[in-house]
């Protein structure tokens, strides 16, 4: 084997390796951007209807976040794999059909397997259809990128959304009801009751709608402070 051949092989190998590293890098980038840089409710101020509506307890926030993540990931998967088939003039209609299908699937599965949570989230589950985050990711990302990248993007944005809802929900529940519930099973409640002791008078204001606005505003302010440095 001549020297030039060895060198040529080496460059091919290095190029392939570089490509793989770059792929992995963009994959993690697409995943992590949803967790902090583009965390939907706080950075982009998107999807505020469920953010304000369901976060009366931490558990509701987590449940709503997970339901949205499920819809987001599967709609991204379908939109990314059908992106070359869907005609661009009717793409929004197609996205809505796909998203609505997964929302109804979520609703039915939740009724069958997590009924208590379904009772608490109520009308907000069907409203995921019009959640602008889900449609936004389908239009802005999944319809232009590969399947793997779209899955990473959906997971990242979804988990970021769940974290934001859980953070807001825990604050509101903590001060508004003096509790912190993570999950309720039919037989027991995982969480802490009466965090500040039995004599703490909860600010019921916090679990009502105005409390949601105030709390979200303060969190946005905090995020801007952190971001400005």
């Amino acid at each position: 084997m001549s020297l030039t051949q060895i060198l040529a092989e080496k460059t091919v190998f290095v190029q392939a390796l570089n490509r793989e590293i770059k792929m992995a890098k963009t994959l993690t980038q697409e995943f992590t951007k949803g967790l902090w840089e583009e965390i939907a409710p706080f950075r982009l101020v998107l999807g505020l209807c469920p953010v304000l509506g369901v976060t009366t307890t931490m558990e509701n926030g987590i449940g709503m976040g997970l339901a949205t993540t499920f819809v987001l990931v599967f709609s991204n998967i379908l939109v990314a794999s059908l992106r070359n088939i869907i005609p661009s003039k009717v793409r929004i209609a197609c996205f809505i059909i796909i998203i609505a299908t997964f929302v109804v699937i979520t609703e039915l599965l939740m009724q069958a397997f997590a009924y208590t949570l379904f009772l608490k989230l109520g009308v907000f589950i069907p409203l995921i259809v019009v959640n602008c985050i889900v449609l936004g990711r389908a239009e802005a990302f999944a319809s232009k990128n590969s399947l793997t990248l779209s899955i990473a993007d959906g997971l990242g944005i979804g988990i970021g959304f769940t974290l934001s809802l859980a953070a807001l929900g825990s604050l509101r529940e903590l001060f508004g009801a003096n509790n912190l519930t993570i999950w309720t099973t039919p037989t027991s409640v995982i969480g802490v009751q009466e965090v500040f002791g039995p004599h703490f008078q909860p600010f019921t204001f916090m679990v009502q709608a105005p409390g949601a606005f105030v709390c979200l505003g303060l969190m946005l302010c905090l995020m801007n402070l952190l971001g400005s440095k």
Partner: protein, 197 residues
């Protein structure tokens, strides 16, 4: 033209697939969902309002036709005699419909007990209608043909503090249950005879 056809075909295929998938899933989960509803919402409420029954009201249930709608009725036996029926009715609350289970003694037409089932009221305010047994226990022993009202509207029921709309909705639901009961009384009496055999 070609473009138009592709658009129509893609949209149709997507919609058909989605519809088929969802109807399949609905059929597959329907039985489980009903069990869950009985277990988590209606069951506990019925057991709470029918304290001391000698049968299982969830098991002894039947459906009855009220005009177009089908209503589920639960039967309670006291001292081995089926004399109590539980009906569900709804009232418009602050955050949506409030479901109310009303147990009625068929011998003297009085309310044995009531309990809130499904609701989406504000936690800490309207949601107390479900959490605080003192509120719904006000209906106990009242004759069913009455039109229930909160004290502000000239009635007998003390409203929950800070949740007048919820309290009104519960009163409306109880009144509605009374209406259903009176409409269906002949059929209900017939059905209860079967349970007393």
């Amino acid at each position: 033209m070609r473009e138009l056809i592709t658009m129509v075909v893609v949209l149709t295929v997507l919609a058909v697939l989605s519809g088929g998938l969802l109807s399949g899933l609905r059929n597959a989960t329907a039985a489980r969902i009903e069990v869950q509803q009985l277990k988590f919402v209606k069951g506990p409420a019925i057991k709470a309002i029918l304290k001391g029954v000698s049968n299982d009201p969830i098991k002894d249930r039947f459906a009855i036709k009220d005009g177009e709608t089908e209503r589920k009725v639960f039967v309670g036996k006291f001292d081995d005699e089926a004399n109590t029926v539980v009906l569900e009715s709804f009232g418009k609350g602050y955050g949506g419909d409030i479901g109310l289970m009303v147990a009625i003694n068929m011998e003297d037409d009085t309310i044995v007990g009531a309990g809130v089932t499904t609701h989406s009221e504000t936690p800490g305010l309207g949601a107390t209608a479900k959490d605080d047994p003192g509120f719904v226990s006000q209906f106990k022993g009242l004759p069913i043909e009455e039109t229930f009202k909160v004290t502000n509207d000239g009635g007998k029921v003390n409203a929950l503090s800070g949740a007048t709309i919820t309290s009104r909705a519960v009163c409306a639901a109880a009144t509605q249950a009374g209406g259903i009961y009176q409409r269906m009384k002949p059929q209900l009496t017939e059905k209860l005879k079967e349970f007393n055999k």
